[in-house]
């Protein structure tokens, strides 16, 4: 049996919230696409190759979630919507520490 490990909230650009439960260490990209969250494409399947799973981590959570890696930095910083807490959702793995995490989505994925 897969026990619930936590909940992550994806907030669309227009403010619509999607609460997604997770039971394992899936990436946030997988959680979003498998739960029909609009605005996260994940075209490359999680290889940090496409940049279509850009999310912005809530300020209160960035210390726990961590800041972006060098490859994420290269992929995201050309986006006009890049923010200080921008990450690629495919590089963020769900874990119990992230129960309650909120991330915002940009208006457009590049």
């Amino acid at each position: 049996m897969n026990a619930k490990m936590g909940t992550i909230t994806f907030i669309e650009h227009d403010g619509t919230e999607h609460e997604v439960e997770f039971v394992d260490g899936s990436s946030l990209m997988e959680l979003a696409t498998s739960n029909g969250v609009p605005g996260i494409d994940g075209d490359c399947g999680g290889e940090a190759s496409c940049g279509t799973c850009h999310v912005i981590v809530d300020d209160a959570w960035i210390a726990v979630a961590g800041t972006r890696s060098d490859v994420e930095r290269q992929m995201i910083e050309m986006s006009p919507e890049c923010a200080a807490n921008s990450r690629l959702a495919c590089q963020l793995k769900a874990c119990p520490d992230l129960d309650g995490l909120k991330v915002r989505l940009p208006e457009f994925q590049m």
Partner: protein, 412 residues
């Protein structure tokens, strides 16, 4: 009565059609028919992480089974044997007939067969689906040598993965350079150098006349009669689009199943998306058949929108990627028709550079090796129709972001 979308084929395009239909407001039935046992999965890792044993089929699923359950999308394993457009039905190999209101053909492509004797021997593999990758993997424990036939992306990715696993690898390419069909000579030369540096025995201009062995392959006979001894052969000599169902149903096939900018065939109830299609690219005006995930996803989103009555056309910039050894190649746009190139970094020495392609002063494509930033810059600059200054682009000290602001006119 509830309306029904039937999707034929279960790859990247189908997975996206399923997801987009629900997002776009389709509340009717969705029936996904695939001839592989699995729900749609990622194919690109088959020649990389999956081949290396670093991931499982469950890891590859594009969306988890729970998604299909929750969205009431029914997956049915079977092979569609015919389409009756007058009756709006498809026939399955088990004899059943299923009706549709909208039909989406996502039939993909299949490996081009190697037309030589011995291609059916055990130990000779294509690399298109998970069963192919699993059978290569299962033979690795006892294999020390591999021959890869074909120096395209699949062949070179397979060669790199097998080499990393410790095999002695020979790559045979009929053309006088690798990646001849898909990229420019400069990029071919770069990959040629890296594969040789990594210990691949790369042979260009080399034809294969037979695969030899008693039941199981033991050697590859070349046109000059040399025989290369091997334990394993991977064939990657291109793909053929699966257009036969469409053709038999009287739909137009022009290299691929011909669709318009909205993903429609000439039958208003029939759509197509992915590797099996051809369409007229709005940027170049050329009819294209693209073999890549990004195209499948873009066309699928367009088909879904069209079915749901939204106005959307196939417009996203095509892009591709390929991972080999420590190289991450990301390609933005199509370089066909370029008249000038600009280099950033040096492809003759290191392993990080970008090659930008211009046509009449405008940036149309970029090949970026271990340069994610240059890739994302290119995606944006090409989509916005920019003409960045070539001198500044070539200068590694230039911040690329600065070229996004100042380059919309001019052309350097």
């Amino acid at each position: 009565m509830t309306e029904r979308v039937v999707i034929v084929g279960a790859g990247h395009a189908s997975a996206q059609v399923c997801a987009s239909l629900r997002r776009d407001g389709w509340s009717g039935e969705i029936l996904l028919i695939g001839d592989e046992p699995s729900l749609p999965y990622q194919r690109p890792p088959l020649s990389k992480a999956f081949l290396a044993g670093e991931s499982t089929l469950a890891d590859l699923l594009i969306r988890k089974p729970e998604f299909y359950e929750k969205e009431h999308i029914v997956f049915r394993r079977g092979r569609v044997t015919g389409i009756d457009r007058d009756a709006a039905t498809v026939g399955l190999d088990d004899g059943e007939t299923l009706g549709y209101d909208k039909l989406v053909l996502c039939t993909g492509a299949r490996p081009r067969p190697l037309p030589v004797p011995g291609a059916e021997l055990a130990g000779v593999h294509d690399l298109r689906d998970v069963a192919d990758a699993q059978s290569i993997r299962s033979g690795l424990a006892t294999a020390g040598r591999a021959v890869v036939i074909g120096g395209g992306y699949i062949g070179l990715e397979a060669a790199a993965s097998l080499r990393k696993l410790g095999l002695a690898v020979t790559v045979l390419e009929l053309a006088d350079r690798v990646l001849q069909r898909v990229t420019t000579p400069r990029i071919s030369a770069f990959y040629d150098r890296v594969h040789r540096e990594e210990g691949i025995d790369l042979r260009l201009g080399t034809g294969v006349v037979a695969l030899e062995g008693d039941g199981r392959v033991t050697g590859v006979r070349l046109a000059d009669d040399e025989v290369i001894a091997t334990d394993l052969v991977v064939v990657g000599v291109g793909v053929v689009p699966n257009v036969e169902l469409a053709q038999a149903a009287g739909l137009t096939v022009d290299d691929g199943i011909a669709v318009d900018a909205h993903g429609r065939t000439e039958d208003p109830a029939v759509f197509a998306a992915g590797d099996c299609t051809s369409y007229v690219d709005a940027r170049s005006g050329c009819r294209l058949r693209l073999e890549c995930v990004a195209n499948a996803v873009e066309q699928a989103k367009t088909v879904s929108a069209t079915i749901c009555g939204h106005d959307r056309s196939i417009s996203a910039l095509p892009w591709f990627w390929s991972d080999q050894f420590d190289l991450k190649l990301q390609i933005a746009g199509l370089s066909t028709g370029y008249d000038e190139t600009v280099l950033r970094g040096d492809p003759d020495t290191g392993r990080s550079f970008a090659c930008f392609y211009f046509a009449e002063g405008r940036l149309i494509a970029a090949d970026c090796v271990n340069r994610a930033q240059d890739f994302m810059f290119s995606k944006r600059a090409i989509a916005e129709g920019l003409s960045p200054d070539r001198g500044l682009l070539a200068d590694s000290d230039t911040q690329l972001a600065s070229l996004l602001q100042a380059s919309s006119t001019g052309g350097g």
